[in-house]
């Protein structure tokens, strides 16, 4: 990946017109200049030119970015603020290191598949043996920190068994007209194994041979987000080798964020040659490569669709998930306002900047409420988690599902 110094030219492209102000969800809430892309580009430029140094304030300002790329899409000069911010974070991490726990999470926990299994199990038990209720009810969390009580509420519902564990008992069909490698994301693994099963079923119904290299690790997005480029590169090398070794025609993802990072693996490792064309979102593959074929069972629901930033602006996939939804019998599709606006999740952002994240989320929930759906569809499990939290905290009775999960219900 390019260092910030190597990206100096990019930071000099900004003409300071301020058009990024309109689309930046964080600026919309805070209104102060450091919140907006234009300022981060300027700070990146001064950091690259050694005019400014890495400081706690620099770290704080650079952390106030969702990497939603709305500024990039709206920028007349097409300045890649997203890449500048990530490069700045990498420089900050190189000079200043990472907080211990965060470093451990990025380097030890997320890349370790068996640890993920143990953690998911513990979390599930915590949530389902009454322990969570007990802890919540006891006021213990509030006593420790009022913030922590809220943050605990953002925690996803963990699954009783990880998708990896489920896969051990599943037999995937051999042979088919197209061989596809399905990349197993951490979220599908730990939080939503049902999505994994749905993806496999849908792909097999479309005549695909699905191969799943279960040794793949975390895609590297969290590491990149926190500037740990080294770990991200190591993960990319391993994942790229495993995925390429399947000999599949396409590499499919069901997570907008993983997919966006996988598509850019070529910037992280030489082992990912050709990935940009090979990596497709599962909805894009179904619609553009095969033509989506739903079953006969109707799904009686009013559905609206939330564009994940990494799926929409990151990968340019926005039409295909909607086409899948519209093809489902019985389903009523209703477009919401600002469907492509960030939900404020952005990985751990919702935990590290809870109030800000909730202000961004509430606008999204307001747009959802206005179309009164029974289901909100989203192509990224991280958005799903955030949206579920937003719907619950605003007492909206809709559920959140991946478009492919809804498609699977038609068979």
């Amino acid at each position: 990946m390019k260092t910030l110094k190597q990206m100096r030219e990019e930071s000099e492209k900004c003409l300071r017109c301020g058009l990024c102000q309109i689309v930046c969800p964080i600026y919309n809430v805070l209104g102060s200049e450091p919140a907006v892309a234009r300022a981060k580009v300027r700070l990146a430029r001064e950091l690259a030119g050694d005019v400014l140094k890495v400081t706690p304030r620099m770290r704080k300002i650079m952390s106030l970015c969702l990497n939603c790329k709305a500024c990039v899409a709206n920028c007349p000069s097409q300045v890649h603020t997203d890449k500048l911010v990530l490069a700045a974070r990498a420089q900050i991490k190189d000079e200043d290191g990472l907080p211990f726990l965060l470093g451990a999470a990025l380097k030890q926990f997320l890349p370790n598949n068996s640890l993920q299994g143990v953690a998911a199990k513990s979390a599930y038990l915590y949530q389902h043996l009454g322990l969570q209720q007990a802890v919540r009810g006891s006021g213990l969390l509030k006593a420790v920190s009022p913030d922590l009580a809220q943050k605990e509420g953002v925690m996803p519902e963990f699954a009783p068994r990880t998708f990896r564990a489920e896969l051990a008992n599943m037999t995937l069909k051999k042979g088919g007209k197209v061989k596809v490698a399905y990349y197993l994301s951490c979220m599908t693994n730990m939080v939503n194994p049902a999505l994994g099963k749905a993806v496999i079923e849908v792909l097999e119904r479309h005549g695909c041979e699905v191969v799943i290299p279960t040794d793949v690790q975390c895609c590297g997005t969290p590491q990149l987000a926190y500037g740990d480029v080294e770990t991200a590169e190591a993960l990319a090398r391993n994942n790229a080798r495993l995925l390429a070794a399947t000999g599949a025609d396409y590499i499919l993802t069901d997570c907008g964020t993983c997919g966006d990072t996988l598509r850019h693996y070529e910037e992280l490792t030489a082992d990912a040659a050709g990935f940009e064309q090979k990596v497709l979102d599962v909805s894009e593959f179904l619609v553009d490569k095969l033509g989506v074929k739903p079953g006969d069972k109707p799904v009686e629901a009013v559905v609206t669709y939330h564009d994940s930033c990494h799926l929409n602006r990151g990968q340019g996939v926005n039409r295909q998930p909607r086409e899948i939804l519209k093809a489902i019998p019985g389903l009523t599709f209703r477009e919401m306002a600002e469907a492509d606006r960030c939900c404020g999740g952005a990985g751990t952002f919702a935990i590290t900047n809870y109030d800000l994240s909730m202000a961004i989320l509430d606008r999204k929930v307001g747009n959802i409420k206005a179309v009164n759906p029974t289901i909100v569809a989203a192509g990224c499990p991280a958005c799903k988690m955030q949206l579920e939290h937003g719907l619950a905290r605003n007492n909206v009775g809709a559920t959140v599902a991946h478009p492919v999960e809804l498609l699977a219900k038609t068979y």
């Binding site: 058009l19 102000q21 102060s32 200049e33």
Partner: protein, 463 residues
């Protein structure tokens, strides 16, 4: 640098979480939409008029400059803290206080984003016409201070034509109210007009009451294409001469249309030298009559083709093209100078010719577009600020453009203001007598030269 006691006092006034002294924050408030920059000593984001008054009093006691700042989209360098001091960031004062249906007025705080305000009043069937192209990010306070214009200026005028009342913190910290909700108001000096366009040098605007008008019932759009830019410019003058006042009347030359088409194609013609994009609004009946008349006049001015948008979608498409002009310019050059020389409307063909001559003389690429219905030209110089030799030619070309505009009975700025960028031309337009008059106003209300010093003109003669 300000002393730590001053920073401490500012924290006491505005709350410590609203005062910023770290270099990262200062850097973020060092620039606007121009290529200029300078670091302030401190940034303060107040919430109330009373806080601002206290801050200004403190600044007077300590002789520290105060620079009010809205969206930071200024095109004249008006919010650059050239002498350091306090940047007064007004984003926390962002409430629409009232939309008065009975009087057709609205009262807002300065930090309200202009486009947000448009949406709010249009929801009520009302209309606030000033529409600077930066309206999606600029603030109303900034619009009043800079007396911002916009494409609709030809029919509806500029910001000052809508301001009915102001609350202002004076340069010594007093709090002043002028005007109110009355449409007619002829008491005393017209301080409203003095503050509108004062570029933060005479007061800090803390509350604004504006006049609203009924939202027009209908609008239509027309694109007229011409083989020569001269004919297009002549058509602009002719439409006005025939006493038709469109809502907007935009001239585009071949170069700008080419840039737009390669950026976001909307179907502008590639084989003509010039085109004008016109919108008319009013009652259904008037709009249809006017658009026919405009088409007739364009034909008489040798237009090759006139295309009337058949529906709102087609009109929106054309305007989207015009609006993307700025993006297209940015994409095509490293540095873009957006100028805004303005001439009487009958002189549009003359200034267009002069700009073309100047571009040739200095070997520069200067696409022309403009809100030409009000004589407001936007010659845009495409250049690269790293090229020192070319920058000299750019400077000379800009000098000559303003000389030409003034010679045609025009003005230095139609809507961007003077700020730092056009300060040096002020004696050309006003002479020493005119500037001295302005200086004596400034001196009498701001004896310590605290408010946005050095903007528009310098305090000493001959500078």
């Amino acid at each position: 640098m300000i002393s730590s006691t001053v920073a401490e006092q500012l924290r006491r006034i505005a709350g410590k979480e609203n005062v910023f002294t770290e270099p990262e924050d200062l850097t973020c408030y060092s620039y606007d939409s121009t290529h200029l920059s300078a670091l302030p000593d401190v940034v303060v984001a107040p919430l109330t008029t009373a806080e601002i008054s206290e801050i200004v009093k403190l600044a007077n006691a300590e002789r520290i400059p105060v620079i009010p700042r809205g969206g930071g989209t200024c095109l004249s360098g008006g919010t650059i803290p050239t002498d350091g001091g306090i940047i007064l960031a007004l984003h926390r004062m962002n409430k629409i206080l009232e939309i008065d249906q009975d009087n057709l007025t609205a009262t807002v705080q300065p930090g309200v984003i202009t486009a947000t305000f448009h949406q709010a009043v249009e929801k009520e069937g009302l209309f606030y016409p000033p529409d600077p192209q930066s309206m999606l990010m600029s603030t109303i306070g900034g619009n009043v201070a800079e007396n911002a214009g916009g494409p609709r200026g030809v029919k509806y005028g500029v910001t000052k034509d809508y301001v009915l009342g102001l609350e202002v913190v004076t340069p010594t910290g007093g709090i002043l109210r002028v005007g109110g909700k009355t449409i007619k108001n002829v008491s005393g000096y017209d301080l409203m007009r003095l503050f509108a366009g004062s570029e933060g040098t005479l007061g800090i605007i803390t509350e604004i009451t504006v006049r609203l008008v009924p939202l027009p019932e209908a609008k239509r759009t027309l694109l007229a294409m011409f083989d020569t830019l001269d004919d297009a410019a002549a058509a602009v003058s002719s439409i006005i001469k025939h006493r038709i006042i469109p809502t907007t009347l935009e001239l585009m030359d071949h170069k700008i249309m080419e840039l737009i088409e390669s950026f976001k194609p909307v179907g502008f013609p590639m084989d003509v030298e010039g085109a004008i994009l016109i919108e008319v609004d009013g009652s259904e009946h008037d709009v249809n009559k006017q658009i026919d008349k405009v088409a007739e006049i364009c034909a008489a001015c040798r237009s090759r083709e006139v295309k009337v948008a058949k529906d709102q979608a087609e009109a929106a498409q054309l305007w989207a093209g015009r609006r993307s002009a700025f993006g297209a310019l940015c994409k095509s050059a490293r540095t873009v100078f957006v100028e805004d020389a303005t001439v009487p409307r009958s002189k549009v063909p003359d200034i267009v010719k002069r700009i073309q001559e100047i571009a040739r003389k200095y070997d520069l690429v200067i696409p022309i577009l403009g809100h030409t219905g009000d004589g407001n030209m936007h010659p845009n110089i495409l250049t690269d600020e790293r090229n020192a030799e070319e920058m000299k030619r750019v400077d000379a070309a800009i000098d000559e453009m303003f000389e030409a505009a003034l010679a045609l009975g025009g003005t230095l700025s139609g809507e961007h203001g003077i700020g730092l960028i056009k300060r040096k031309y002020m004696p050309w337009q006003f002479g020493e007598e005119g500037l001295d008059f302005m200086r004596s106003i400034k001196r009498s209300v701001d004896p310590n030269n605290i408010l946005n010093p050095g903007k528009m003109f310098l305090m000493e003669k001959g500078e």
